[in-house]
């Protein structure tokens, strides 16, 4: 089990690994009570949305957009089909929280989606699940069967007259489908290439119908928020950063895994929960919000709290809550080379600045790493990334550029050393030992 701890756990409270994901377990934890209450009392849609707004729940997929506000964009009284789509296409390096939510608490996602559908006037829904987690997709399908048999999804739910059909769609290996409009294209059976916005999905979404797309963790939080009240959830975190959040901690820590903590918790506390640094080594750098977030030097990170505003102030993004920790045995050039390769490989190829720019960035970092860098390469990198940022249809361009920009900015000396000495500043055997197999606790 990769859910390793929590402080004031909400989403992960009462879970017992693979033994508590079924409908009966969720119901025993108070599951589906909110859906029942909303439908029985016919609570007005505006009232549900307003409660979500009060919680200041911000989208947990990476962008941090307020969920209640997003829901309010839907033309809910417009006749015709409308959709709620759950984005479980979790493929941002460092992020593995939605996998655990689907694995250990799938019914919270189903209930959250049903409540969301009710609130925005949707009658259809899809959960788009990352291609590589087939076993989780199978489990979610089983959970859907359970929910359907119990009458929580389908036609005339619990006799209320509310209809909501929900299905799982399995991805097949494309990071870009985590971008919401690429994800819609993918559900439509096409290449996952993002759409130009506007029109936004709330007016032209899946099959051209009004659609809201939310992240798995966001939707899974909904039943809990409504149950405890928006304000109480907000107060678990800090102003403008409501509630608790799952953080996926990976890299050079003793106990990599998911930890649920209130937003505003010091990074040092999270690091401690993850067992501290592997081998007691010194922290060098942290990517605090998934591979697309700018890297931050370790000492700056140690003084930061884990919330949207504090991490933005420290010069990065909370993003998806994926915390990649790197210790002193890490070569920053080698690390950036791998990240740049990822964006080069995953660029969908639609926009020239991203398609060509990600290739250039990878090639330049690759040659620096391999001792063929030229003194002017660092300026060239900045030039290339400057020509990507803000010039593409979707955010992947910026996501590819930000790591390059921040690695070079904070660790420029290491890049210069590489170019001058044609090798790593951190000896290769030290790197190999530092990132190697280790004993798990």
């Amino acid at each position: 089990m990769a859910l390793l701890g929590n402080i004031h756990g909400v989403l992960t409270a009462g879970l017992n690994g693979d033994h508590s994901w079924r409908l009966k377990d969720y119901v025993a934890r108070g599951g589906y009570e909110m859906l029942k209450k909303i439908l029985a009392e016919q609570i007005p849609q505006e009232q549900v949305i307003s409660e979500v707004k009060k919680s200041v729940l911000r989208g947990r997929g990476g962008a941090g957009f307020p969920t209640g506000l997003k829901w309010s964009f839907m033309p809910r009284s417009l006749p015709g089909d409308k959709y709620i789509v759950c984005n479980s296409d979790e493929g941002e390096p460092g992020t593995f929280k939605d996998r655990d939510i689907l694995r250990y608490n799938p019914h919270s996602v189903i209930e959250g989606m049903a409540i969301a559908a009710y609130s925005i006037g949707a009658t259809g829904g899809y959960n788009y699940i990352h291609g590589e987690i087939f076993e989780i997709y199978q489990r979610f399908e089983e959970a859907l069967d359970e929910a359907r048999a119990a009458g929580f999804i389908g036609q005339n739910i619990l006799g209320s007259g509310f209809n909501f059909e929900l299905f799982a769609h399995h991805g097949y290996g494309a990071y870009i489908c985590g971008e919401e409009t690429a994800l819609l294209e993918s559900i439509e059976g096409k290449k996952g290439q993002p759409r130009f916005k506007p029109p936004f999905p709330a007016s032209f979404g899946l099959y051209g119908k009004p659609t809201t797309i939310n992240n798995t963790e966001t939707l899974a939080s909904i039943p809990f928020i409504l149950k405890m009240g928006g304000e109480e959830f907000l107060n678990l975190g800090k102003p403008n950063n409501g509630g608790t959040k799952l953080f996926s901690v990976s890299g050079h820590v003793k106990r990599p895994g998911n930890y649920e903590i209130p937003l505003g918790t010091p990074f040092s506390t999270l690091l401690e929960m993850a067992g501290g640094m592997r081998g007691g080594r010194k922290i060098k750098a942290v990517i605090p919000g998934g591979s697309s977030a700018p890297v931050i030097p370790g000492d700056v990170m140690m003084d930061t709290t884990m919330d949207y505003d504090a991490i933005a102030k420290a010069g990065s993004m909370l993003g998806s809550g994926a915390v990649i920790v790197m210790d002193e045995t890490t070569c920053m050039v080698k690390s950036l080379e791998r990240l740049s390769y990822f964006y080069y490989e995953e660029s969908c190829g639609q926009c020239t600045p991203c398609r060509e720019g990600t290739s250039w960035m990878y090639k330049i970092v690759h040659r620096i790493e391999n001792g063929l860098g030229k003194p002017e390469d660092l300026d060239l990198l900045n030039n290339v990334l400057g020509n990507i940022m803000g010039r593409t249809i979707c955010a992947l361009g910026d996501a590819a550029a930000l790591p390059v920009q921040s690695f070079v900015k904070h660790f420029r000396k290491e890049f210069e050393y590489h170019i001058e000495h044609k090798t790593c500043l951190v000896p290769k055997d030290v790197q190999w030992a530092g990132s190697g197999f280790h004993h798990f606790e």
Partner: protein, 157 residues
């Protein structure tokens, strides 16, 4: 072309989408076809397209876009090792090296007996269990220390 069992699975997927949106099932149907055939030959892709009433080129675009479809034959057991940064920090390249020692092949290669293919993969969304590898697109294997790799290879024999 495909077994009755696979076609039954096709129909289950098609039923998830509005009647006029059968194309939505193309990703699932290609995956099902690949499960049966091991890889996607052009005629398999064309069969899926015809089944769903979409132009073959549109199905081909999907087959070539998503990385888990195989457009050439692969070994009976495909081991996709994630080597992205978080995994690389926790032994992914050691796992690749160990597989090279054991199987005599590197990423992108297949053993001469056609039993194993090793690939390097992009983020599989399981970084907490690094090093991870995905077996035949279906089974996520985490914390792949040499002992675990030995066990898995033994199981695949």
């Amino acid at each position: 072309m495909l077994s009755a069992e696979s076609l039954k699975r096709f129909d289950r997927e098609v039923a998830k989408y509005p009647a006029e949106q059968k194309q939505s099932a193309v990703m699932a149907c290609l995956a099902i076809a690949q499960d049966e055939k091991g890889w996607l030959a052009p005629e398999t892709v064309e069969f899926v397209a015809n089944y769903l009433g979409m132009p073959p080129v549109a199905a081909w675009e999907v087959a070539t876009f998503y990385s888990m479809y195989e457009l050439k034959p692969v070994g009976k057991h495909k081991l996709t090792v994630c080597t992205n940064l978080p995994c690389a920090l926790s032994g992914a390249y050691h796992a690749v090296e160990y597989l090279r020692q054991k199987l005599g092949i590197g990423p992108g290669e297949t053993t001469p007996d056609g039993k194993f293919t090793v690939k390097e993969g992009e983020c599989q969304g399981a970084c907490g269990d690094a090093p991870v590898l995905l077996l035949n697109n279906h089974r996520m294997c985490g914390r792949m220390t040499p002992e675990q790799i030995d066990r898995l290879l033994e199981e695949c024999k």
